[in-house]
Symmetry: C2
Subunit: 498 residues, 2 copies
């Protein structure tokens, strides 16, 4: 595998299966290698400009930067699309090809606390990570700027070598993925954007899909997500104090914190995880035999102990075995508490009756649930129980997406990995979420997916990283990841031949 990965760049005989399908592969690989430092510098520059929707940070700047990244990579037109929130970016690259491929980018990143990081989260420092190699450490490194930059580097390679792309591209980028894409439907509904997407064979988001053994994955869908807050307090009813008051007053004044607890308690069963919102589970599709088989294949090549260790847990829900737990992981919708905040939150105690209590919650949805459905059901559930003093603020969300493994779009991904002899599993679904439903659902009904090799970790956590030069011969660095995108573009181009 080391020879193979080296060969991606060096163009040795071992790349013959790829080279046969990717015209000029050796030349392109040389360009990618020669542009390595430029690519890394471009990624560092991008990491230095974090767009964080929750904090309204670098909103216009982030969109404009995304627009310029697209133009630099060879898109002939790119424009900022206003949406009422953080703007989107729409770009097209017309190569005069018969096939058009859709690309989805998120240019925003998750919040971060520099105090929790071992290197400054906006510097994108290159550091050695034992067992992994040289990695770039910074917010957005793997989620999702690193893989996206690897894709842009593929386009730069075409541009620098004067080669025409084998496919046309439509890029739609958003800056609110991390707050559950509240305005992305508006961006995609833009008449020009919708018309351009309609011509695509499918839409994918560049991803770094390899685990530490080099195993890659093709995911056939993702859960949907809805983020919302429940708020109780002086702002929702005059039963509660407007501010924190001395706690002795709870003997005569209602507590927003208790009210929140009582409302929350109705949302999940006493087991602490099964959703209990009226009708919430009605449209949950059970896994098919094939989906369970795909999960079993993945389980067979995954070290359960490593997964538990990386998550810091000793057991799964119900102490289930790995297969059962993995089926649960991909098949079950969730009602999760992201955070609780009320009254005094410092060290020890403080004798106050809080004036406000807030729970930050999130649904994860599976087929055939929809965002609108669960929002309506949540509100009806609370109303039925008289929680009219509990304010529901939905900050964003979207439904699940699912693509058939036999679709030509997915088959092309499989062919590229097969040809590169990269082991991979098909996953029926990603337990995480991305707003693929905007492409996958009506009216576009396009295949969607996350695709790519390379590796990283720490999304949403401190010390997020993405492999630049891999020490593990089975894992791709950024240049190898770039070359696989090149191969993929040629493979997608073949879809027009049928």
């Amino acid at each position: 595998m080391r020879l193979f990965l080296m060969s991606l760049v060096l163009g040795t005989a071992l790349t013959a299966p790829l080279a046969a399908q990717t015209p000029g592969r050796a030349d392109l690989a040389k360009v990618v290698a020669s542009r390595h430092d430029t690519t890394v510098k471009a990624l560092q520059d991008w990491i230095a400009l974090p767009t964080i929707a929750a904090e309204k940070r670098n909103v216009e700047q982030g969109a404009d930067y995304m627009r310029r990244l697209a133009l630099d990579a060879g898109f002939q037109q790119a424009r900022v699309v206003q949406s009422g929130g953080v703007p989107g970016v729409f770009a097209t690259l017309d190569a005069g090809a018969p096939v058009t491929l859709g690309i989805y980018f998120m240019y925003d990143v998750k919040q971060f606390d520099p105090a929790e990081w071992s290197s400054p989260p906006l510097e994108g420092r290159l550091v050695d990570r034992p067992g992994e190699g040289q990695v770039i450490m910074g917010r957005g490194a793997v989620n999702q700027k690193g893989p996206e930059m690897a894709f842009l580097a593929a386009l730069h390679a075409f541009k620098a070598s004067g080669r025409k792309l084998p496919v046309n591209l439509v890029l739609v980028a958003e800056g609110e993925e991390e707050i559950a894409s509240p305005n992305f439907p508006t961006i995609v509904a833009d008449p020009q954007v919708a018309a351009a997407l309609k011509k695509t064979v499918g839409v994918f988001i560049p991803a770094a899909g390899q685990d530490q053994t080099g195993q890659a994955g093709i995911t056939l869908g993702a859960k949907g997500a809805v983020e919302f807050q429940l708020i109780v307090g002086g702002e929702t009813s005059d039963k509660y104090p407007k501010n924190d008051v001395h706690s002795s007053n709870h003997a005569r004044i209602e507590s927003p914190a208790w009210r929140l607890v009582k409302a929350l308690d109705t949302l999940v069963a006493d087991d602490g995880h099964t959703p209990a919102i009226d009708g919430f589970m009605d449209n949950v599709k059970p896994l098919t035999a094939r989906q369970k088989e795909l999960i079993a294949q993945r389980v067979a090549v995954t070290n359960e102990a490593d997964v538990k260790k990386s998550l810091g847990v000793g057991k799964w829900i119900g102490n289930e075995d790995f297969q059962t737990s993995s089926e649960r992981f991909l098949s079950q919708p969730t009602v999760n508490i992201q955070g609780l905040v009320s009254g005094y939150t410092g060290v020890g105690g403080k004798t106050v009756l809080p004036g406000r209590a807030e729970a930050k919650l999130e649904f994860r949805l599976v087929p055939d649930m929809t965002r609108q459905e669960v929002e309506t059901k949540l509100k009806a559930h609370l109303a039925k129980r008289g929680f009219d003093d509990v304010k529901v603020v939905v900050s964003g969300g979207y439904g699940p997406n699912q693509t058939d493994e036999n679709s030509p779009f997915i088959q092309a991904q499989k062919k590229v990995l097969d040809r590169a002899a990269i082991p991979y599993t098909l996953s029926p679904r990603n337990a995480g979420s991305w707003p693929g439903v905007v492409f996958n659902g009506a009216p576009l009904n396009l295949p969607t997916g996350q695709f790519g090799i390379g590796r990283g970790n720490g999304a949403h956590a401190p010390n997020e990283w993405f492999v630049i030069r891999s020490a593990n011969p089975k894992v791709a660095g950024i240049d190898e990841a770039t070359m696989l995108f090149v191969d993929y573009l040629y493979e997608v181009a073949k879809l027009g031949r049928k």
Copy 2:
């Protein structure tokens, strides 16, 4: 009343009833007036050194400062008493008198956030407060350094004028009142402290008991308080992640936040306020007819709308009338949530499954509940329901105290107020708490109370204040409050005559 209050200082004819009982009153009042700036400066200096037990701030310094304050005021001996927590201070002043009075001081203050204050909380600035006069604004101003400094100023007046105190004094001070006095029993159990207290006729804490109409109050007891935290997470069970992880994992990993909600939910009834811990209400004594009568007297002279406004609420629990609500206020024990903290607590949402969830709670206890009883019942309640993964951390607490209104100790307070023509109500109980049970309960069984005139507000809140020079002729400033303590010392001295 203006004439009266001025006369406290000026010694006019109107103070005749007081002067007749307080030898040398006019001279003492002159000394108090001449020491006014010194007293205020001493209060400001004390405010500048906040002891905050929850933050372990100024622990040794605060105790030593308290010791020096006592010595400066004329106590012949004062020593720091180690307790395992923030130390206490024990001081005695032997005047060779037949009667000994016990004094309780708290020298600690509540936490504060300077950003919430209109003037720096440690500067004790003198500011004009419309309708009140000149007030000192700072953390601890009214709770409890201001009233305590007024008492010390009375001792300074004796010392400065070369007069002997009419009573002996035993002072016991603690620095952990704001965390529910976890180690105060240890301090009081010190053999020297216990022996000294045993000789007292009762123990009181100086207080600023006047409302804005000048109405004072004698309280015959106080609720007890127990502060504790419920903690669930990776630190309590390997079912939960050790740190926050990506929220998609809730589909296969239990949530400490939900577990906390489920545990909390069992602690109060669905009405959001009635304690539901097994056996919690067993020893709750109903109010007597006399206690209800006392409440009615207070209700009759209190503007309900003002109280609601100051608390920022539109209605009491159950939309009850003021009498019913006031009876509830003083008679009902509570299970209060002081704070909730779990996972992401910033703006909007963040897709994490928290690794930890904590509820900060507090009981308020009424006779005949005890601290040990409720702690035992809470733990049994949780254990019975299988919440063995919910850690209970009791950070402090004590039971309620209650003193008979016919005790000579209370009668002396009434006589002083009567003689000064200050209107007052007898309150059967303070809904707040102070550890009077340490004196009031076995083995000392002493009368206890909070006593004093003067006025302030904002305890436990930003912009805490205490009146220095009152613009309201019916309300005492610090010097008038001091003089009432002088009168009280002479009245207490008479208890030895019987």
